[in-house]
Amino acid sequence: MHPMTERRLVRWILFSVPFLCALQWLVVRKIGEPYPAVMAPGFAGDAKPLLAIKTPTLVINKADGSTRETSAYDLFLDLPQSQNVTLVDRGLTWTRTLPPDAAEWTWQRVLTIEPAATGAVVRWTRETPLTKEPAAWLGELTIR
Protein backbone atom coordinates (compact mmCIF):
# COMPACT_ATOMS: atom_id res chain seq x y z
CA MET A 1 0.00 0.00 0.00
CA HIS A 2 1.30 3.45 -0.81
CA PRO A 3 2.48 5.20 2.40
CA MET A 4 0.16 8.19 1.90
CA THR A 5 -2.80 5.88 1.32
CA GLU A 6 -1.91 3.97 4.45
CA ARG A 7 -1.68 7.21 6.47
CA ARG A 8 -5.05 8.34 5.17
CA LEU A 9 -6.61 4.98 6.02
CA VAL A 10 -5.14 5.01 9.54
CA ARG A 11 -6.47 8.55 10.13
CA TRP A 12 -9.93 7.43 9.01
CA ILE A 13 -9.77 4.49 11.39
CA LEU A 14 -8.91 6.87 14.22
CA PHE A 15 -11.77 9.21 13.34
CA SER A 16 -14.19 6.26 13.28
CA VAL A 17 -13.33 5.32 16.88
CA PRO A 18 -15.80 7.75 18.53
CA PHE A 19 -18.60 6.44 16.30
CA LEU A 20 -17.73 2.85 17.11
CA CYS A 21 -17.71 3.70 20.83
CA ALA A 22 -21.11 5.36 20.47
CA LEU A 23 -22.41 2.29 18.60
CA GLN A 24 -21.13 0.00 21.33
CA TRP A 25 -22.76 2.21 24.00
CA LEU A 26 -26.06 2.05 22.10
CA VAL A 27 -25.96 -1.74 21.79
CA VAL A 28 -25.13 -2.13 25.48
CA ARG A 29 -27.96 0.19 26.46
CA LYS A 30 -30.61 -1.28 24.17
CA ILE A 31 -29.74 -5.00 24.00
CA GLY A 32 -26.99 -5.80 26.47
CA GLU A 33 -23.24 -6.19 26.48
CA PRO A 34 -22.24 -7.85 23.21
CA TYR A 35 -19.23 -10.05 22.65
CA PRO A 36 -16.72 -8.96 21.67
CA ALA A 37 -16.88 -5.49 23.19
CA VAL A 38 -14.14 -3.15 24.34
CA MET A 39 -15.24 -3.01 27.96
CA ALA A 40 -14.02 -3.62 31.46
CA PRO A 41 -16.11 -4.44 34.56
CA GLY A 42 -17.76 -1.37 36.06
CA PHE A 43 -18.97 -2.48 39.52
CA ALA A 44 -21.31 0.52 39.44
CA GLY A 45 -23.78 -0.95 41.92
CA ASP A 46 -21.14 -1.55 44.55
CA ALA A 47 -21.35 2.05 45.78
CA LYS A 48 -24.56 1.06 47.51
CA PRO A 49 -24.30 -1.12 50.60
CA LEU A 50 -25.06 -4.81 50.24
CA LEU A 51 -28.61 -5.18 51.51
CA ALA A 52 -29.58 -8.72 50.58
CA ILE A 53 -28.23 -11.74 48.76
CA LYS A 54 -29.86 -14.85 47.39
CA THR A 55 -28.27 -18.04 48.70
CA PRO A 56 -28.75 -21.43 46.99
CA THR A 57 -28.50 -24.52 49.17
CA LEU A 58 -28.39 -28.00 47.70
CA VAL A 59 -30.56 -30.27 49.84
CA ILE A 60 -29.86 -33.93 49.15
CA ASN A 61 -32.15 -36.70 50.35
CA LYS A 62 -30.38 -39.93 51.13
CA ALA A 63 -31.55 -43.55 51.06
CA ASP A 64 -31.52 -43.81 54.85
CA GLY A 65 -34.01 -40.93 55.14
CA SER A 66 -31.51 -38.33 56.25
CA THR A 67 -30.69 -35.14 54.35
CA ARG A 68 -27.42 -33.47 53.61
CA GLU A 69 -27.09 -29.77 52.86
CA THR A 70 -24.28 -28.10 51.01
CA SER A 71 -23.81 -25.04 48.88
CA ALA A 72 -25.34 -25.46 45.43
CA TYR A 73 -22.15 -23.98 44.00
CA ASP A 74 -20.42 -27.26 44.94
CA LEU A 75 -22.21 -28.85 41.97
CA PHE A 76 -19.87 -27.15 39.51
CA LEU A 77 -16.59 -26.83 41.40
CA ASP A 78 -14.73 -28.57 38.56
CA LEU A 79 -15.79 -25.85 36.12
CA PRO A 80 -14.08 -22.46 35.74
CA GLN A 81 -14.69 -20.40 38.83
CA SER A 82 -15.95 -17.37 36.96
CA GLN A 83 -18.70 -19.41 35.30
CA ASN A 84 -19.82 -21.95 37.91
CA VAL A 85 -21.56 -19.30 40.02
CA THR A 86 -23.45 -18.09 36.95
CA LEU A 87 -24.53 -21.62 36.05
CA VAL A 88 -26.19 -21.94 39.45
CA ASP A 89 -27.54 -18.39 39.67
CA ARG A 90 -29.17 -18.49 36.23
CA GLY A 91 -29.67 -22.17 35.53
CA LEU A 92 -30.84 -23.48 38.88
CA THR A 93 -32.96 -20.54 40.02
CA TRP A 94 -36.36 -21.32 41.56
CA THR A 95 -38.19 -19.40 38.81
CA ARG A 96 -37.26 -22.00 36.20
CA THR A 97 -37.89 -25.72 35.74
CA LEU A 98 -35.23 -28.11 34.56
CA PRO A 99 -35.90 -29.93 31.27
CA PRO A 100 -35.21 -33.69 31.41
CA ASP A 101 -31.71 -33.56 29.89
CA ALA A 102 -30.55 -30.76 32.22
CA ALA A 103 -32.17 -32.47 35.20
CA GLU A 104 -30.39 -35.75 34.44
CA TRP A 105 -27.05 -33.97 33.89
CA THR A 106 -27.38 -32.05 37.16
CA TRP A 107 -28.49 -35.24 38.95
CA GLN A 108 -25.29 -37.00 37.86
CA ARG A 109 -23.37 -34.13 39.48
CA VAL A 110 -25.38 -34.56 42.66
CA LEU A 111 -24.36 -38.23 42.70
CA THR A 112 -20.67 -37.25 42.57
CA ILE A 113 -21.24 -35.20 45.73
CA GLU A 114 -23.42 -37.81 47.45
CA PRO A 115 -23.47 -41.30 45.86
CA ALA A 116 -26.25 -42.39 48.25
CA ALA A 117 -28.60 -39.61 47.08
CA THR A 118 -32.21 -40.45 46.21
CA GLY A 119 -33.43 -36.90 45.55
CA ALA A 120 -32.21 -33.32 45.51
CA VAL A 121 -33.56 -29.79 45.41
CA VAL A 122 -31.91 -26.38 45.28
CA ARG A 123 -33.44 -24.19 47.96
CA TRP A 124 -33.11 -20.42 47.60
CA THR A 125 -33.20 -18.09 50.60
CA ARG A 126 -32.77 -14.35 50.95
CA GLU A 127 -30.19 -13.26 53.50
CA THR A 128 -29.26 -9.86 54.83
CA PRO A 129 -25.58 -9.89 55.84
CA LEU A 130 -25.61 -6.39 57.34
CA THR A 131 -28.77 -6.55 59.44
CA LYS A 132 -28.57 -10.33 60.08
CA GLU A 133 -32.34 -10.90 59.81
CA PRO A 134 -33.56 -14.53 59.62
CA ALA A 135 -33.22 -15.98 56.12
CA ALA A 136 -36.41 -15.67 54.05
CA TRP A 137 -37.41 -18.62 51.84
CA LEU A 138 -37.65 -17.67 48.15
CA GLY A 139 -38.35 -20.94 46.38
CA GLU A 140 -37.04 -24.33 45.32
CA LEU A 141 -35.92 -26.00 42.14
CA THR A 142 -36.34 -29.76 42.02
CA ILE A 143 -33.54 -31.75 40.42
CA ARG A 144 -34.99 -35.14 41.27
Binding site: I31, D46, A47, R96
Partner: protein, 323 residues
Amino acid sequence: MAGRINDQIDHWLFEEYRVDQADLSLYRKLYAVLAVALYFPHALWTAGIPAHFWNTPPSLTSLLDGPPPMWVLLILNALFLWFCFALYKGEDVPGASIGVGVTLLLLNNVYYSFGKIDHDILFPLTAICLAFSGWDGRSQQRPWCLAFLALIIGIAMFTAAWPKFAGGWLSLDSHAVQSTAQRYMVRPHRVIGTELAVEYTPTWLWEVHDWAAVLLEAGVIVAAYRLRWLRAILLVAMLFHMGVLITFGIAFAVNVVVYAAFFPLSRLWKPALACLPIAVVMSLTLCNWYGYRGFLWHTIVMLGGVMALGYLVRLTATTVRRR
Protein backbone atom coordinates in the same frame (compact mmCIF):
# COMPACT_ATOMS: atom_id res chain seq x y z
CA MET B 1 -4.86 25.75 14.59
CA ALA B 2 -6.24 22.91 12.47
CA GLY B 3 -2.76 22.34 11.11
CA ARG B 4 -1.32 22.02 14.63
CA ILE B 5 -4.01 19.53 15.59
CA ASN B 6 -3.33 17.51 12.45
CA ASP B 7 0.38 17.52 13.27
CA GLN B 8 -0.33 16.35 16.83
CA ILE B 9 -2.56 13.56 15.54
CA ASP B 10 0.02 12.49 12.98
CA HIS B 11 2.76 12.55 15.59
CA TRP B 12 0.65 10.40 17.93
CA LEU B 13 -0.21 7.93 15.19
CA PHE B 14 3.10 7.66 13.37
CA GLU B 15 5.90 8.63 15.77
CA GLU B 16 4.95 8.60 19.46
CA TYR B 17 4.73 4.83 19.75
CA ARG B 18 7.87 4.06 17.77
CA VAL B 19 9.78 1.56 19.92
CA ASP B 20 12.79 -0.71 19.59
CA GLN B 21 11.67 -3.38 17.13
CA ALA B 22 13.75 -5.98 18.95
CA ASP B 23 11.54 -5.36 22.00
CA LEU B 24 8.42 -5.83 19.88
CA SER B 25 9.78 -9.07 18.48
CA LEU B 26 10.60 -10.32 21.97
CA TYR B 27 7.11 -9.37 23.10
CA ARG B 28 5.64 -11.38 20.19
CA LYS B 29 7.36 -14.52 21.41
CA LEU B 30 6.39 -13.87 25.02
CA TYR B 31 2.79 -13.26 23.98
CA ALA B 32 2.64 -16.48 21.95
CA VAL B 33 4.03 -18.57 24.82
CA LEU B 34 1.71 -17.02 27.39
CA ALA B 35 -1.29 -17.33 25.09
CA VAL B 36 -0.81 -21.09 25.09
CA ALA B 37 0.05 -21.26 28.78
CA LEU B 38 -2.94 -19.19 29.87
CA TYR B 39 -5.57 -20.41 27.45
CA PHE B 40 -4.80 -23.79 25.95
CA PRO B 41 -6.92 -25.89 25.98
CA HIS B 42 -9.87 -23.54 26.11
CA ALA B 43 -13.63 -23.85 26.53
CA LEU B 44 -13.67 -27.64 26.17
CA TRP B 45 -15.80 -27.92 29.32
CA THR B 46 -18.68 -26.20 27.54
CA ALA B 47 -19.34 -29.13 25.22
CA GLY B 48 -21.19 -31.18 27.80
CA ILE B 49 -23.34 -28.43 29.30
CA PRO B 50 -27.08 -28.83 28.54
CA ALA B 51 -28.78 -26.15 26.44
CA HIS B 52 -30.89 -25.13 29.46
CA PHE B 53 -27.84 -23.24 30.79
CA TRP B 54 -27.10 -21.55 27.45
CA ASN B 55 -27.48 -17.78 27.90
CA THR B 56 -25.66 -15.93 25.16
CA PRO B 57 -24.69 -12.27 24.93
CA PRO B 58 -25.47 -10.50 21.61
CA SER B 59 -22.85 -12.34 19.57
CA LEU B 60 -22.24 -15.13 17.06
CA THR B 61 -23.25 -17.77 19.59
CA SER B 62 -26.74 -16.23 19.67
CA LEU B 63 -27.23 -18.14 16.40
CA LEU B 64 -26.79 -21.45 18.26
CA ASP B 65 -29.35 -23.28 20.40
CA GLY B 66 -26.73 -24.65 22.72
CA PRO B 67 -23.00 -25.18 23.16
CA PRO B 68 -21.21 -26.42 20.02
CA PRO B 69 -20.15 -30.07 19.91
CA MET B 70 -16.74 -31.12 21.15
CA TRP B 71 -15.28 -31.60 17.66
CA VAL B 72 -15.87 -27.92 16.86
CA LEU B 73 -14.08 -26.86 20.04
CA LEU B 74 -11.22 -29.25 19.34
CA ILE B 75 -10.74 -27.83 15.85
CA LEU B 76 -10.78 -24.27 17.18
CA ASN B 77 -8.25 -25.19 19.87
CA ALA B 78 -6.02 -26.91 17.32
CA LEU B 79 -6.16 -23.83 15.09
CA PHE B 80 -5.41 -21.58 18.06
CA LEU B 81 -2.38 -23.69 18.97
CA TRP B 82 -1.16 -23.73 15.39
CA PHE B 83 -1.45 -19.95 15.04
CA CYS B 84 0.35 -19.45 18.37
CA PHE B 85 3.17 -21.67 17.20
CA ALA B 86 3.43 -19.78 13.89
CA LEU B 87 3.39 -16.49 15.80
CA TYR B 88 6.23 -17.64 18.03
CA LYS B 89 8.32 -18.83 15.10
CA GLY B 90 7.68 -15.61 13.22
CA GLU B 91 6.04 -17.22 10.18
CA ASP B 92 3.44 -15.11 8.36
CA VAL B 93 3.16 -12.98 11.47
CA PRO B 94 0.19 -10.84 10.31
CA GLY B 95 -1.83 -13.94 9.46
CA ALA B 96 -0.81 -15.78 12.61
CA SER B 97 -1.60 -12.73 14.77
CA ILE B 98 -5.08 -12.38 13.34
CA GLY B 99 -5.54 -16.15 13.58
CA VAL B 100 -4.63 -16.15 17.28
CA GLY B 101 -6.96 -13.23 17.96
CA VAL B 102 -9.92 -14.57 16.00
CA THR B 103 -9.74 -18.18 17.30
CA LEU B 104 -9.44 -16.90 20.83
CA LEU B 105 -12.41 -14.58 20.35
CA LEU B 106 -14.49 -17.49 18.99
CA LEU B 107 -13.53 -19.77 21.88
CA ASN B 108 -14.16 -16.99 24.38
CA ASN B 109 -17.55 -16.34 22.80
CA VAL B 110 -18.57 -19.92 23.59
CA TYR B 111 -16.99 -19.73 27.06
CA TYR B 112 -18.99 -16.59 27.90
CA SER B 113 -22.32 -17.86 26.62
CA PHE B 114 -23.70 -18.97 29.96
CA GLY B 115 -24.50 -15.54 31.35
CA LYS B 116 -21.19 -14.06 32.39
CA ILE B 117 -18.49 -12.34 30.37
CA ASP B 118 -14.99 -12.21 31.85
CA HIS B 119 -13.38 -9.04 30.61
CA ASP B 120 -10.20 -10.34 29.03
CA ILE B 121 -10.96 -8.77 25.64
CA LEU B 122 -7.65 -6.91 25.61
CA PHE B 123 -5.68 -10.14 25.17
CA PRO B 124 -7.08 -11.31 21.80
CA LEU B 125 -7.33 -7.70 20.60
CA THR B 126 -3.60 -7.24 21.29
CA ALA B 127 -2.72 -9.90 18.73
CA ILE B 128 -5.06 -8.36 16.15
CA CYS B 129 -3.84 -4.80 16.83
CA LEU B 130 -0.18 -5.72 16.52
CA ALA B 131 -0.62 -7.91 13.43
CA PHE B 132 0.96 -5.30 11.13
CA SER B 133 3.08 -3.51 13.76
CA GLY B 134 6.34 -5.02 12.59
CA TRP B 135 6.56 -7.26 15.63
CA ASP B 136 8.02 -9.92 13.38
CA GLY B 137 11.22 -7.95 13.72
CA ARG B 138 11.80 -7.78 9.96
CA SER B 139 9.13 -5.70 8.27
CA GLN B 140 8.57 -1.96 8.53
CA GLN B 141 7.50 -0.84 11.98
CA ARG B 142 4.07 0.77 12.14
CA PRO B 143 3.81 2.74 15.41
CA TRP B 144 0.10 3.37 14.87
CA CYS B 145 -0.62 -0.28 15.76
CA LEU B 146 0.75 0.21 19.26
CA ALA B 147 -0.98 3.60 19.44
CA PHE B 148 -4.33 1.98 18.67
CA LEU B 149 -3.69 -0.69 21.29
CA ALA B 150 -3.03 2.08 23.82
CA LEU B 151 -6.27 3.76 22.78
CA ILE B 152 -8.21 0.49 23.13
CA ILE B 153 -6.82 -0.06 26.62
CA GLY B 154 -7.80 3.50 27.50
CA ILE B 155 -11.33 3.03 26.16
CA ALA B 156 -11.76 -0.27 27.99
CA MET B 157 -10.58 1.26 31.25
CA PHE B 158 -12.84 4.26 30.70
CA THR B 159 -15.87 1.98 30.32
CA ALA B 160 -15.02 0.75 33.82
CA ALA B 161 -14.44 4.25 35.23
CA TRP B 162 -17.64 5.88 33.94
CA PRO B 163 -20.16 3.52 35.69
CA LYS B 164 -18.19 3.96 38.89
CA PHE B 165 -18.32 7.73 38.58
CA ALA B 166 -22.01 7.68 37.65
CA GLY B 167 -22.75 5.12 40.38
CA GLY B 168 -21.46 7.36 43.16
CA TRP B 169 -18.03 5.91 43.83
CA LEU B 170 -16.59 9.40 44.38
CA SER B 171 -19.24 10.33 46.94
CA LEU B 172 -17.73 10.67 50.42
CA ASP B 173 -20.82 8.93 51.79
CA SER B 174 -20.22 5.73 49.86
CA HIS B 175 -17.31 3.35 50.28
CA ALA B 176 -17.65 1.29 47.16
CA VAL B 177 -14.50 -0.81 47.44
CA GLN B 178 -15.49 -1.64 51.02
CA SER B 179 -18.95 -2.58 49.80
CA THR B 180 -17.38 -4.76 47.10
CA ALA B 181 -15.28 -6.46 49.78
CA GLN B 182 -18.42 -7.08 51.85
CA ARG B 183 -20.09 -8.64 48.81
CA TYR B 184 -17.07 -10.87 48.35
CA MET B 185 -17.31 -11.93 52.00
CA VAL B 186 -20.60 -13.68 51.26
CA ARG B 187 -19.60 -15.16 47.92
CA PRO B 188 -18.90 -18.88 47.60
CA HIS B 189 -15.23 -18.30 46.73
CA ARG B 190 -14.31 -15.69 49.27
CA VAL B 191 -10.64 -15.42 50.17
CA ILE B 192 -8.72 -14.64 53.32
CA GLY B 193 -7.42 -11.40 51.79
CA THR B 194 -10.98 -10.05 51.74
CA GLU B 195 -11.50 -10.95 55.37
CA LEU B 196 -8.28 -9.22 56.41
CA ALA B 197 -9.12 -6.14 54.34
CA VAL B 198 -12.63 -5.86 55.80
CA GLU B 199 -11.28 -6.37 59.33
CA TYR B 200 -8.35 -3.95 59.32
CA THR B 201 -8.87 -1.25 56.66
CA PRO B 202 -9.82 2.15 58.14
CA THR B 203 -12.74 4.04 56.60
CA TRP B 204 -10.61 6.83 55.14
CA LEU B 205 -8.45 4.31 53.29
CA TRP B 206 -11.54 2.70 51.73
CA GLU B 207 -12.47 6.14 50.38
CA VAL B 208 -8.93 6.61 49.01
CA HIS B 209 -9.36 3.29 47.18
CA ASP B 210 -12.62 4.50 45.63
CA TRP B 211 -11.00 7.65 44.26
CA ALA B 212 -7.82 5.87 43.20
CA ALA B 213 -9.76 3.24 41.22
CA VAL B 214 -11.82 5.83 39.33
CA LEU B 215 -8.90 8.18 38.65
CA LEU B 216 -6.63 5.33 37.52
CA GLU B 217 -9.19 3.85 35.14
CA ALA B 218 -10.21 7.25 33.75
CA GLY B 219 -6.60 8.36 33.47
CA VAL B 220 -5.38 5.67 31.10
CA ILE B 221 -7.09 7.18 28.05
CA VAL B 222 -5.48 10.55 28.83
CA ALA B 223 -2.09 8.95 29.47
CA ALA B 224 -2.30 7.17 26.11
CA TYR B 225 -1.42 10.53 24.50
CA ARG B 226 2.25 9.97 25.40
CA LEU B 227 4.10 6.66 25.66
CA ARG B 228 5.99 7.90 28.74
CA TRP B 229 2.78 8.82 30.52
CA LEU B 230 1.18 5.49 29.55
CA ARG B 231 4.10 3.52 30.95
CA ALA B 232 3.83 5.42 34.23
CA ILE B 233 0.12 4.79 34.63
CA LEU B 234 0.45 1.16 33.61
CA LEU B 235 3.02 0.69 36.38
CA VAL B 236 0.43 1.98 38.83
CA ALA B 237 -2.15 -0.28 37.20
CA MET B 238 0.07 -3.30 37.82
CA LEU B 239 0.22 -2.41 41.50
CA PHE B 240 -3.55 -2.03 41.44
CA HIS B 241 -3.97 -5.51 39.89
CA MET B 242 -1.67 -6.98 42.53
CA GLY B 243 -3.81 -5.42 45.24
CA VAL B 244 -7.01 -6.73 43.66
CA LEU B 245 -5.50 -10.23 43.51
CA ILE B 246 -4.50 -10.21 47.17
CA THR B 247 -7.77 -8.68 48.36
CA PHE B 248 -10.32 -10.33 46.11
CA GLY B 249 -8.53 -13.27 44.54
CA ILE B 250 -9.14 -11.90 41.02
CA ALA B 251 -6.11 -12.25 38.77
CA PHE B 252 -6.08 -9.85 35.81
CA ALA B 253 -3.04 -11.64 34.43
CA VAL B 254 -4.00 -11.00 30.80
CA ASN B 255 -3.98 -7.25 31.45
CA VAL B 256 -0.41 -7.44 32.77
CA VAL B 257 0.64 -9.37 29.65
CA VAL B 258 -1.00 -6.74 27.43
CA TYR B 259 0.68 -3.87 29.32
CA ALA B 260 4.09 -5.48 28.73
CA ALA B 261 3.79 -4.55 25.03
CA PHE B 262 4.66 -0.96 25.94
CA PHE B 263 7.83 -1.67 27.90
CA PRO B 264 11.41 -2.30 26.72
CA LEU B 265 11.47 -6.02 27.39
CA SER B 266 15.06 -6.52 26.27
CA ARG B 267 16.13 -4.31 29.18
CA LEU B 268 13.68 -5.79 31.65
CA TRP B 269 14.38 -9.50 31.47
CA LYS B 270 17.17 -9.32 34.07
CA PRO B 271 15.04 -7.40 36.61
CA ALA B 272 12.22 -9.84 35.79
CA LEU B 273 14.42 -12.80 36.63
CA ALA B 274 15.45 -11.07 39.87
CA CYS B 275 11.83 -10.43 40.85
CA LEU B 276 10.54 -13.84 39.77
CA PRO B 277 11.43 -15.72 42.99
CA ILE B 278 9.59 -13.10 45.06
CA ALA B 279 6.59 -13.33 42.72
CA VAL B 280 6.60 -17.12 42.89
CA VAL B 281 6.71 -17.15 46.70
CA MET B 282 3.86 -14.63 46.87
CA SER B 283 1.90 -16.60 44.30
CA LEU B 284 2.41 -19.88 46.18
CA THR B 285 1.23 -18.20 49.36
CA LEU B 286 -1.92 -17.05 47.62
CA CYS B 287 -2.43 -20.47 46.06
CA ASN B 288 -2.17 -21.97 49.49
CA TRP B 289 -5.05 -19.72 50.51
CA TYR B 290 -7.10 -19.78 47.31
CA GLY B 291 -6.30 -23.09 45.69
CA TYR B 292 -3.60 -24.00 43.17
CA ARG B 293 -5.56 -23.69 39.96
CA GLY B 294 -4.42 -20.11 39.34
CA PHE B 295 -0.67 -20.43 40.00
CA LEU B 296 0.47 -19.10 36.60
CA TRP B 297 -2.13 -16.32 36.60
CA HIS B 298 -1.18 -15.30 40.14
CA THR B 299 2.53 -15.36 39.32
CA ILE B 300 2.12 -13.11 36.29
CA VAL B 301 0.16 -10.54 38.29
CA MET B 302 2.63 -10.72 41.18
CA LEU B 303 5.61 -10.38 38.84
CA GLY B 304 4.09 -7.27 37.25
CA GLY B 305 3.29 -5.81 40.67
CA VAL B 306 6.69 -6.59 42.20
CA MET B 307 8.56 -5.16 39.19
CA ALA B 308 6.38 -2.03 39.24
CA LEU B 309 6.96 -1.62 42.98
CA GLY B 310 10.69 -2.13 42.56
CA TYR B 311 10.88 0.45 39.78
CA LEU B 312 8.85 3.03 41.72
CA VAL B 313 10.97 2.52 44.85
CA ARG B 314 14.15 2.93 42.78
CA LEU B 315 12.75 6.02 41.09
CA THR B 316 11.85 7.55 44.45
CA ALA B 317 15.28 6.78 45.89
CA THR B 318 17.02 8.29 42.85
CA THR B 319 14.86 11.42 43.02
CA VAL B 320 15.48 11.86 46.75
CA ARG B 321 19.25 11.36 46.30
CA ARG B 322 19.37 14.00 43.55
CA ARG B 323 17.71 16.52 45.84
